[in-house]
Structures are given as structure tokens and as C-alpha cells.
Symmetry: C2
Subunit: 231 residues, 2 copies
Amino acid sequence: MNEKKKPCSCVSCDFRAVVFTYLEDTTIEELCDHKEEQFFRKGEIINHEGEKITNFKYLKSGLVKLYRRTSDGDEQVITITRPFEFVSNMSIFSEERYQYSVSALEDSVVCMVNLEFIKGLFLKNGGFAFSLLSKISRISDKIIAQTLDIRQKNLIGRVAFVLLYFTNDIYKSRVFDLPVSRKEIADYIGMSTANVIRTLSDFKKEGIIRVFGKTIEVVDVGKLEIISRHG
Amino acid sequence: MNEKKKPCSCVSCDFRAVVFTYLEDTTIEELCDHKEEQFFRKGEIINHEGEKITNFKYLKSGLVKLYRRTSDGDEQVITITRPFEFVSNMSIFSEERYQYSVSALEDSVVCMVNLEFIKGLFLKNGGFAFSLLSKISRISDKIIAQTLDIRQKNLIGRVAFVLLYFTNDIYKSRVFDLPVSRKEIADYIGMSTANVIRTLSDFKKEGIIRVFGKTIEVVDVGKLEIISRHG
DNA sequence: CGCGGCTTTGATGTTCATCAAGTAAAGTGG
DNA sequence: CCACTTTACTTGATGAACATCAAAGCCGCG
């Protein structure tokens, strides 16, 4: 056992299964030399709208929101997402600068790989290129579909949708701590903060959810699903 | 001059510059054997939501709308677009079936290349793969950005936006024939048909536009821009 | 313990959808 | 080519949905 260098953590990284499937162990180790892991505390900004893109970034752990600021200064939240949906990187191959900002909603770990290195891999390795394209277009599709889904709902349907999104997709639990403010929910679903709060209060009064500050318990998932579908 | 077969029209196709830049003439001629051109009359459906994807399709000429049908049966128009934005193909590498429908708003010509052939090219040719990924992600980004832009506007801002879109992007002319019904505009901007019509009437009364049935003349572009921005 | 930001609730007004009724335009069949 | 049918468009009136404003309560943090 003559080990040349210490084993690369990327070789056993969960993310490998997602887009790095087609890379040999040796390539993965090379990748290791071009990557850096960075920790972001809740609230910190990972990518800034307008900033130059120099890295291929993806979320290893945590929770982030993708958003932009309108000319009047208010925020539009595009999506809230978990690891393996490296949303910040939709436009890395089509744009020079970030179109949107990304910030950490929970403490998060981001893996950053030099963009030129990834481009090189992409050009050399068809399988890698293919899985990357699939992943990126699936993410874009998901954002577009979600936006359309939200658009066809009314206020209470949208709030129900968000609660279900946290319960089913993000936390996979009926009890969870809201990682966002009421205002951020409003910016996400395109409604006013006051009305989001009002709707949450209504749900509480009707016994559909229980609220303890930031902690939410979804009592009646079925009812929420009906509301989400039919307003 | 011993010509083996008749020259392939793809070699001199305008679209070649868009995603087929990295392909040699010989490859392009091979591509020719796997492609078919199809004509669609105004109103005809090019792709059907749910249908299996077997071809890489792009628009050579004409105008199309990308849309989906909600569970209540009404339409959501996702985007309206000109050639070289092969919107139907965003998900060709990530999904087995079309997520959305595409129909022709004007007589259109669509080029269809066998999907497996394109996948083969993608795997073999890094440059081609790269330009294709860039193109696809740019299209997705554009749709997402446009959706966010529309979302932040009120009724009259959205109608102004659509008129400017036709004037500046689609027709590049202040006078044009509307390729869509009032209802389709409503489905596009997420407002009711009656209110779209009302707003057009208001614009007419204020002398911002002139309307002769389907023909529209934008008289005051500047005013429309102000309305689009500030409602 | 006091300040500032987030949350909550009520009151009010605006914006927009819906409904209905009528008109114009565009197909359709004899 | 005309009568008929259907579909698209238009306008007004009404009410529902939602935003805005304001005041008060809560919570965390210095």
C-alpha cells in the first residue's frame, strides 16, 4: 500500500452519484484539487446578483433561497431548495454573471469547483456533460413548473402550497421550524405579508396547523392539500 | 466534381450558427439524413403535453406559444417566441415526455432531428454539447426572468409589457398583427380576458395605441414603457 | 430594560374577476 | 353568396380578493 497522497473526500461524496457518476476515481481526485468547501451561516449570501461566476457551486448541506431584487427594492423569491439542486448554477454556462442571488436559510455547506476545470471536464467527457445537462434542465423545469403552479392558486391556496412544500419536500415532517420570515413567504408566493399572516392565523383557528413562533405543526395535511388545489 | 449525393441544405442553414457551430460539414451532412422539416399551419399543435419525446425540434420560421393546461382546463401561456429559441426542447434530455404543449401562432416550419442521433453527437462532441447546454440554459433563464418581470407588474403594466414585447422583440415594428387572441394575452399575463380588453380600450382612448381589429399600432412607445415599469 | 425589527389584527380602499348582455367578426352549410 | 351559427370581442355593473395603512403586541438583543 504505497499511498501517494491522502484520499480525496470527493470520492465518497454523496453528490458524486448526482452529476459525477461518469467520472473515474482518478478524475475525481483531480477534481479534489480544484474544489473548496465553504461554510455559510444562516443568513449569509452565497452568490450575489451581478457578481462574476468563477465557480461551479453546489449545496452539500443546508437550505438556500434563490431570489432577485426588483427595481423598487423588494425581493422576489424564486425558489427555496435543498442540496443537490445547485440552483445557483443554472446560468453558469450561458451567462458571465449571476442573474440571481442565493442566500443560506440554514447553516449550509457549499462545494465550489473551479469553473474552468468543470468546463474542461464537460468538453472531454460526454457522459459527464450529459448528466450535467440533464440535471440543470431538470432544475430549470422544476422552477418553471412550480412558478406556474403557484400562479394558478389564490391566496390561501398559495399559503397551503408553501406549508405542504416544507412538510413534504423540504423537511419531510409535519413539524418543522420555518426557515423563513412571513415576509419571505410573501415574496415567494407573490402576496402581501399581512395577508400571509392572516391566512396562517385562519389555518390556526380552523385547527389545520398549530403555530408556536417559528415552529409549525401541520395537523391536517389532507385539508391543506384540498385548499392548495381548490383555493 | 464527383458528387456522391445531393448537397445537404443543413450545411447552409441559419440555425447552424446557433448550436451546430462545432460540427464539421461531414457531420452536418450526416445530420441531414436524420432530420425532417415539417410545416405547421397557424393554430396547429407542434408538441403535445405528455407526448413522448423522440425528436430534437427547433423552429426555423414562424411563431409559437409554449403553454400548459391546468387541472381546471384553462391554459397557462408560458412564453411566445420566435425561431432559434427551441423552447419545446428544454426538457428533452431530462424528461421522457413533453412537459408542455407548443402550438403555431403563425405558419411555422419546424426542423426535427432524431433525438438519439443528437444524443450521440452530444456525447462525442464536447463543443457541440457545450453550445447546446448554453443555449438551453439561456432559454430557461429567459423564461424565468420574463415570468418574474410580469409577476411584479399590475394589470396595465402587464398589458403594456406584452405590447412592447410584440413591438420590440417579436415584430420589431410599431405596427403589427396580433398573433394571439385577447384571451391568450390574458392567459399569458395571468389576468382576466375582460380586463385585458378593457385595458387595451383605455390605451386606445388615451391615444397610446390604435386598434383595427387584430392590427395594432403603437403610437407612444415611451408612454408604454413608463406604464410597463410603473403600472 | 428599552430599542428595533418582526408579527399580528382591524379598518379601509383599490384592484381585479366575474357575470351578463350586447356587438362584431369569422366560419359553415345550403 | 347569403343566412345561420359560432366564436371572439366589448362594455358596464357588481362583488370578491387582495393590498395598504395604522396601531399594538411580541420577541430578541444589546
